[in-house]
Amino acid sequence: MTDRTLDKAELTAPRPEQSTPSFDFAYWWDRVGILVVLIALVVLMATIAPNFASIDNLFNIARSIAINAILAAGLTFVILTAGIDLSVGSTLAVSGVVAVLAAIGGLPAPVAVLLGVLAGAAAGLVNGLLTAYLSLAAFIVTLGSMTYLRGLAYTMTDGQPVVDNMLGFRDIGNGYFAGIPVPVVVMAVVYVAAWFVLERTRYGRHVYAVGGNAEAARLAGINVKRVITSVYVIAGACAGLAGVIFAARVVSAQPTAGTSYELDAIAAVVLGGTSLMGGRGRIIGTLIGSVILGVLSTGLILMNVPFFTQLLIKGGVIIFAVAVDSLKQRPLRLGRRTGGAAPAH
């Protein structure tokens, strides 16, 4: 009802122009709030933890963030379509195993790496096809594939780590490129590519549209099923890439690699402001979310906070961030409910 009276007022009253300067807290919090949290966190850590701000430590943090950040980048696509992928941790393990076994089998390093990434993409393709074309709930499909893929990783390795000290692609985990750790370079490339795809391409626009209103997207001629399938392939490929980096870093195939990583990745995405309901969020937010989680973990370790307490703090931060995000949106949601979007009957 308020909506209608407002509109009548709009017709008669002179409309304030867009350029009217006024500080809109919600607007700015939406854009830079999470970054402010990150900066505050870094300043806090640098003050309390003596070694935090050293270059070596910052590189270490960046390197440890890279794997979760790459997983989270792929997951952002999925969550933007209102889906979820619980299998990325297990996919990471399978991809690492595939890449290491391929390298041990005598394939050249680049081919082994490619096979690892493709294995991840294939797992994502299966998730995507089941979700999109059989209309199964993504949560259940990927819960199943999480277990299945973990079993596959154990089966392929007989449950034992497969160590290859001569691993041809070990530099992907341990090397430096122009003085920067290679995983960090890979992470940067993944994020630049993901940003470009989501913000500048037709496909990216369709990902947002499918998450916002799948029916509207369908009526606009977008192949919704294909878009949904594709986001799981992207998540799988990112998990594959993360798996290769993980394997390279520990110079072995670990069937237990990435256990529960999917939860950290989801936390990073949500912390970064992407809505689990789909359609709303930015890839840059996911990167900042990953960095916050990474900085928090490393900082708490440097401060000698007991492990149990670390879990309490990390869990609390995630819940706090989501609560802030939800409160921030509340006025808008109420406005919409009373607005003209009501059904006709």
Binding site: L6, D7, R205, G221, I222, R280, A342, A344
Partner: protein, 257 residues
């Protein structure tokens, strides 16, 4: 009398054993607003969905600008220049006005959207329809009022050099002032030379903007009349009984589903 831009003759449509449309004739003329009225279940939405290519038809001929066409899917209809504005609007709340207007038909290459071009075209389209109620074409649709959303949905349909626009209950969820804006917009679409079909339950709206009124009664076209030749009461009678005086179906009591 102008030649209809869209001319449907003898259209039949069944869903399983239910015969929803019986030999329906329906014409849309460029530059005119044709109101499509009828009681619930009369087949209005089905007829629109057949024209839009969402449902296939069992039989019937469709001529578009004098030539016989076969509409086999929504894309065929869109290619001809037939656009539908759905009752539930089909807008993505999370996208802004420009993004919604160009959804599925974005300009620029697949790898690099031409945002400036789309923004410009969206602004021009809104201006050509004298829409002044939206502040910025970059406003997310979630922040718009019901009337503004309807406006965007309608503007979206005319962006495509469309020839025929079908509006399904565009004022059903709106308040007085917003209804006013949308009806003005409907009138302007016709003034721009489009063939406009307005589905509505609201007789006041129909008599205000429609040049012709087509009445569906239990899946049959009871009458297609000039608005100025009939009264409010006659139209209501046609809707509820299929017949009013000497206009309407000859034996409406035989018109069973």
């Amino acid at each position: 009398m102008t030649e209809p831009i869209l001319d449907i003759t003898g259209l039949n449509k069944s869903f399983g054993p239910v015969h929803v449309l019986h030999d329906v004739d329906f014409a849309v003329r460029a530059g005119e607003v044709t109101a499509l009225v009828g009681d619930n279940g009369a087949g209005k939405s089905t007829l629109v969905k057949c024209v839009a290519g969402i449902y296939g038809t069992d039989s019937g001929r469709v001529r578009f600008r004098g030539e016989e066409v076969h509409i086999r899917g929504p894309k065929d209809a869109a290619d001809l220049g037939i656009e539908v504005v759905y009752q539930d609007l089909a807008l993505a709340d999370n996208l802004d006005i420009v993004q919604n207007m160009f959804l599925g038909r974005e300009r620029g290459s697949a790898w690099l959207l031409d945002e400036a071009n789309m923004e410009q075209a969206a602004r021009e389209t809104l201006a050509s329809l004298s829409v002044r109620t939206v502040k910025s074409v970059r406003t997310p649709v979630s922040a718009l009022s019901g009337g503004q959303r309807q406006t965007v949905a309608i503007a979206k349909s005319v962006l495509w050099d469309s020839k025929v626009v079908l509006l399904d209950e565009p004022t059903a969820a709106l308040g007085v002032a917003q209804t006013r804006q949308v009806l003005d917009l409907v009138r302007r679409l016709a003034e721009q030379g489009l063939g406009v079909v307005l589905i509505s339950h609201n007789m006041a709206d129909v008599f205000e903007v429609a040049d012709r009124i087509a009445v569906l009664y239990l899946g049959r076209m009871a009458a297609e009349v000039h608005t100025k030749d009939v009264t409010h009461g006659q139209v209501v009678e046609l809707i509820t009984a299929g017949r009013s005086g000497d206009i309407g179906l000859a034996r409406p009591e035989n018109a069973v589903l």
